[in-house]
């Protein structure tokens, strides 16, 4: 999942301005790949452990000294919409723990902050990322 210029981004209860993009990476933590007696190719695969990582990239204002720290836990939420109206508007929400915060200057000269987060499932079975219809204008 890649969302460019998401609207109304909130992380740990704080609004984050000038967010350029939020990307979600899903990678296997444990991969089962098994072969049988009859040939060289695997006949079974499953991913019983996987991690969901979220990366948020935002422009920094001059003198931005505050921000989250690794280990901080809370909710990340933002909205995305194909149009300026509320048609097709969705809210994306996840329970996260911040893992990395990097501030730097990009090649184009803009100062940016990259925040990486591990998304957590409430039960271990439900997807850590919730996508909710928000066409009613809910915030």
């Amino acid at each position: 999942m890649l969302v460019l210029n998401p609207q109304t981004v909130s992380l740990l209860g704080q609004t984050i301005e000038h967010v350029r993009r939020i990307s979600v990476h899903r990678t296997p933590e444990r991969l089962l790949l098994e072969w049988g007696n009859l040939g060289p190719y695997p006949i079974f695969a499953d991913v019983p452990e996987q991690r969901v990582e979220i990366e948020l990239v935002a422009d920094l204002d001059r003198g931005s000294l505050d921000g989250p720290s690794p280990g901080d836990e809370g909710t990340l939420s933002f909205f995305t919409s194909p149009t300026a109206g509320s048609g097709g508007r969705t809210k994306v929400e996840a329970s996260v723990v911040v893992t990395t915060v990097n501030d730097g200057v990009e090649p184009g000269g803009s100062a940016q902050r990259r925040i990486k987060m591990a998304a957590l499932s409430s039960s271990g079975t439900s997807d850590p990322i919730s996508v909710i219809n928000a066409e009613d204008g809910a915030r």
């Binding site: 089962l32 098994e34 049988g36 007696n37 006949i43 499953d46 991913v47 452990e49």
Partner: protein, 128 residues
Amino acid sequence: MPSMYNGTALFDSGPHRFFVQRQGQTEIEPAQPVGQGQASARWLQLGLVQLSVTVRGRLVAATEADLWTQRDAMTAELTASASPATLDDGNGRVWTGMWLVRYEEQEPVQVGRTWSVGYEAVFRKVGQ
């Protein structure tokens, strides 16, 4: 054709592989050498080891209950085999007179798209 033990397709829910373990003589080295001067003087041969066939695989199920059914079917053979049975690898090789002597799970149950657990089952030939 499914691989079977005692007429039951115990392994076919998931991938599995058969292999034959060590074959040959059981030997011991006595504390005091005997039969000096002979080619195998230092070792006493006690006879052929029992044929052992090991199946390593993964039981795969759509639900936890289905997986338990398969695990229970496997362990039931450990206790229910009052007589030896036939082990069939499903690919043309059949071993008669085999006991299931050990079933061991290799890991915790893995839950992803499926419920699964890796196992090792050891079968031994009776009377050899």
